[in-house]
């Protein structure tokens, strides 16, 4: 075949493959570089002289330290449920999966309120312990400690481990493990030689994603850690938005970015070992029922700590949204509580006829709208990117590490960059309606790719070739061979993209038009003014957010392929 003809025939593929690159170039590198350039221009020798090394090293070390601790704890907490969900059938399985996902979308202000209601000095746990052991002082003092930061990070990120690792585990063919056991290998040896190597890509992906989330953690540190703790991201926020000291903010975010880059390159090196291609199995076939007292107590143990860790804080919020606190105090100084729907009723009233009042239904629709567009963008581009990476070409090797960068980049710096760059129509922060889901997609894409890529890589080439030899077009090969195998992973990726968008606050407050607030923004609006009614409405709105999230997840998980056998 003529060489030129070959390139022309490949043109559509090249065009498609270049889309993820173009997306990152326009919406990530361009604003980020603009921000760095501006910080550089503002840098004078005076500013440089005033920067002490301590300003950088202190937050850097703390950032790394807390991220390592949080990630380790998240693995420990996430491992048993990931194993249970992958290997066993039991009542409440989908409930557990749902439950561990909801924290992921909750705004930190509300989670802080939930933890405070449980573990604060006047929280239920403390009151319970105090009355039980008749203590004078509250025994648990966790708010504004490192413990609170770690607890919140585990609360938020366990779902990443459970979904990414559990998802991969559930599709492993157990026959290989059985074969090894039959040949006399001990369970430990089976784990070392078979299960672990097969799970390694998913494990590393999950660990990297969780680490980067903890590494750039901002609101959790600010609200639950309190003023004694400061990460790089918190320091960037203070320097950029409160001191208006852009050079220092730029320097800190460059250091943060450098660290992320080193980490992602390290990750791509670690994962380079050849992927073993195994046809994924239908999880429903793999899962076994729970048998025997050992398995039963393992299930009960895991369920109970999940319920304490996840249900208790979320339930305290739901409860609070129905409880009316009376200010008329009783004789003993305690206050009475009554059940009421007043906060929910009040959500629908615009008492002050405010311009920016938004009915809850509109906030829900805005959230769903942004969420669905994010799913569309992130899935489309993420699928292409995952294919580029799986191709093991030069482009794939380049895309793999840089794709992860947005997760480890300072949101404040990127936000300022957006304002600098997207200044003229059509890409104008004032009018372009897609900038919000685009910003959400930057965060969602790494998840989509990390979930899809191992599955794409594990589809045996032989299957595709057989289909093609039998005369199927590339489109039909994709649709009837690859897609059914990928379907579960695509659903899981879509869920991540959707939940990331639903809970996102920082970029949305920067980029969304005030008439188009999402649910998290509505919650913040209520909490920014004093008064019991505002507080109650914030709790009611948070409850609505949980319900919207739960319903959407149930709907997405119900999606089935018509007429095609799923894997």
């Amino acid at each position: 075949m003529n060489q030129r003809l070959k390139y022309i025939r490949m043109a559509p593929a090249i065009l498609l493959w270049s889309l993820p690159f173009a997306f990152l170039l326009v919406f990530y590198f361009q604003p980020l570089l603009a921000n760095f350039r501006m910080a550089w221009q503002a840098t004078t020798s005076e500013v440089l002289a005033s920067i002490s090394l301590k300003v950088i090293t202190q937050p850097l070390f703390f950032t790394i330290w807390q991220a390592i601790l949080s990630t380790l704890l998240t693995i420990i907490v996430g491992f048993p449920p990931a194993y249970l969900l992958a290997k066993y059938r039991f009542v409440g399985k989908s409930f557990i999966r749902l439950l561990t996902t909801i924290p992921f979308i909750m705004p930190t202000v509300v989670v802080a309120a939930g933890f405070n209601a449980l573990l604060g000095p006047k929280g239920w746990f403390n009151l319970l312990l105090q009355t039980f052991f008749s203590l004078d002082k509250p025994p648990i003092q966790i708010i504004n400690t490192l413990g609170a930061i770690l607890l919140a990070h585990v609360f938020y990120n366990s779902t990443v481990f459970i979904r990414v690792v559990g998802g991969a585990w559930s599709q492993l063919d157990p026959k290989i493990e059985f074969a090894a056991r039959t040949l006399g290998a001990s369970p430990l040896r089976v784990w070392q030689k078979i299960t672990f190597p097969l799970l390694k890509p998913a494990l590393l992906s999950a660990i990297l994603l969780i680490f980067l989330f903890n590494f750039t953690s901002f609101a959790v540190i600010l609200l639950l850690g309190g003023p004694k703790f400061s990460t790089l991201e918190v320091e960037i926020y203070i320097q950029a938005l409160h001191m208006l000291n852009l050079p220092v903010a730029g320097l800190l975010s460059a250091i943060q970015l450098l660290f992320t880059l080193v980490l992602t390159i390290l990750y791509t090196r670690l994962i380079k070992t050849k992927t073993i291609t195994l046809t994924p199995r239908d999880p429903e076939e793999v899962a076994k029922p729970i048998k025997g007292w050992k398995q039963r107590s393992f299930l009960v143990g895991t369920m109970s700590y999940l319920i304490i860790l996840f249900v208790a804080p979320l339930f305290s919020l739901v409860l609070r949204s129905f409880l009316l606190t009376d200010f008329s105090r009783n004789l003993d100084g305690s206050t009475g509580n009554r059940f009421s729907l007043v906060y929910y009723q009040e959500l629908f009233l615009n008492r002050r006829e405010s311009l920016f009042y938004v009915p809850p239904i509109d906030a829900i629709l805005n959230s769903l709208y942004f969420g669905l567009i994010t799913v569309g963008i992130a899935l489309f581009l993420g699928f292409l990117a995952a294919n580029v990476i799986s191709s093991r070409s030069r482009w794939g090797k380049l895309l793999d590490p840089i794709l992860m960068l947005p997760l480890g980049t300072s949101a404040v710096s990127l936000g300022l960059g957006f304002i600098l760059v997207f200044n003229t129509p059509p890409l104008d922060v004032r009018s372009f309606p897609l900038l919000v889901p685009i910003a959400h997609s930057l965060v969602a894409m790494p998840f989509v790719v990390r979930i899809l890529q191992p599955v794409i890589a594990s589809v045996p080439r032989g299957l595709k070739y057989s289909a093609m030899v039998l005369g199927a077009s590339p489109w039909r090969t994709f649709w009837q061979v690859e897609f059914p195998i990928l379907f579960r992973a695509i659903i899981s990726a879509a869920l991540f993209a959707f939940t990331i968008s639903l809970g996102e606050f920082g970029a949305t407050t920067f980029l969304a038009r005030p008439e188009q607030p999402t649910i998290p923004i509505a919650i913040y609006r209520y909490l920014s003014q004093p008064g019991g009614l505002n507080y109650g409405q914030a709790m009611a709105m948070s409850t609505i957010l949980m319900i919207v999230c739960a319903l959407s997840i149930i709907l997405i998980e119900r999606l089935k392929l018509p007429n095609i056998k799923e894997f």
Partner: protein
């Protein structure tokens, strides 16, 4: 064929993107030709609020569409105005306060405007006599206290900042970190006004010894730590606003005859935050921008301010709503600090404060 299908896919995607861009554009580009309303962009912070009918009336009268750009907290919004000053994204900026004002003036983001409405504005609020920045409202950052707690424990109310060091108030006060919170910064400035640039650190180290609780943001301080709020925390005193007690009445679940909280307004215990508006340099719609500034300073908007943003009007002709008359307290003698002094030292003051109180 693979290629033809892919081309269709890509082109349709581009078409969708294109139409999405145009969809946004249509509302933005003012076309004078067919007498369509123009657009006036107002950049402000995300606590901005106003009654809908006031804005609709203004839009009708001037054949203009008002587009608000809510841009994060006070610092973030000002940053946006400064970063984009070469190609301004808005015509008017509202919400720079006196702790940031010098910075805004140094960066020369505003054009001066001698509004005729200034005659009614309280002269003590006019910090920029060249009228680059015009005062719109003010609010006092004061300590709020839990009335019931003080009554039950027969505590007297502190009458000065030094009183906070007395042993009976040990562990009763929660304040915000001045590095991350604007009321926190205002309260620290009040202590600098009272004890001087040297003395304030001694005061704070004594206050720390007396068990002051520090959190990062107003939401945590008020809703998690303050005992008289819906969060039912542990501290009966919180750094908040002079307008918080009326807000507690207005936003209570059950009708209240009396506010559960009150402010300490003894001389030099509060710090006055004044918010300014300015016309952004380089606006193409100077005339409309002037009209909007006049609108902000005029009585209807000024009387709308208290219940929307919980601040006090700068216009002396504006009447206060009854809840404010009854429960809001305005200190006669708030702490005062020179604008330029704040601008020059704010960073150093916060750093020194951090070393003493947090490390």
């Amino acid at each position: 064929m693979k290629s033809s299908k892919l081309i269709i896919l890509v082109t349709s995607l581009l078409v969708i993107l294109q139409s999405a861009c145009n969809g946004g554009q249509k509302t933005e580009i003012p076309s004078v030709m067919d007498n369509q309303p123009g657009v006036l962009n107002i950049m402000t912070h995300d606590s901005f609020a106003v009654s809908e009918n006031l804005i609709t009336d203004f839009e009708k009268e001037n054949n203009v569409e008002i587009n608000f750009l809510l841009s994060g907290d006070t610092g973030a919004a000002l940053n946006r105005a400064i970063l984009t000053k070469e190609s301004p994204q808005a015509d008017v900026f509202f919400g720079v306060d006196n702790t940031f004002l010098s910075r805004a003036l140094d960066e020369e983001i505003f054009e001066p405007y001698n509004s005729p409405m200034l005659v009614n504005i309280d002269n003590s609020l006019r910090l920029d006599l060249e009228n680059y920045a015009l005062p719109v409202d003010f609010g006092d950052v004061c300590i709020n206290f839990d009335k019931a707690y003080f009554e039950e424990n027969q505590l007297s109310i502190p009458s000065s900042l030094s009183d906070l060091l007395l042993p009976e108030y040990e562990g009763l006060l929660v304040v915000e970190n001045p590095a991350t919170s604007s009321p926190g910064l205002a309260f620290m400035l009040a202590t600098i006004a009272e004890f001087g640039e040297e003395g304030y650190l001694d005061f704070w180290s004594d206050l720390k010894a007396n068990g002051v609780v520090v959190v990062n943001d107003w939401e945590s301080a008020y809703y998690s730590n303050f005992s008289a709020s819906a969060g039912k925390g542990n501290q009966p005193m919180v750094v908040s606003y002079g307008s918080s007690p009326p807000a507690e009445v207005i936003f209570s679940e059950t009708p209240l005859d009396d506010a559960p909280t009150a402010s300490i307004i003894a001389p030099n215990t509060c710090f006055r935050q004044i918010e300014f508006v300015g016309i952004l340099k380089g606006t193409q719609q100077r005339e409309l921008a002037e009209k909007f500034v006049d609108f902000l300073l005029d009585v209807p908007f000024q009387e709308d301010l208290p219940l929307q943003m919980f601040v006090f009007p700068a216009n002396q002709k504006a009447k206060l709503p009854p809840e404010f008359e009854k429960f809001a307290q305005i200190p006669d003698q708030p702490a005062k600090l020179d604008l330029d002094l704040i601008a020059q030292n704010r960073e150093k003051w916060i750093q020194d404060w951090t070393l003493v109180v947090l490390r």
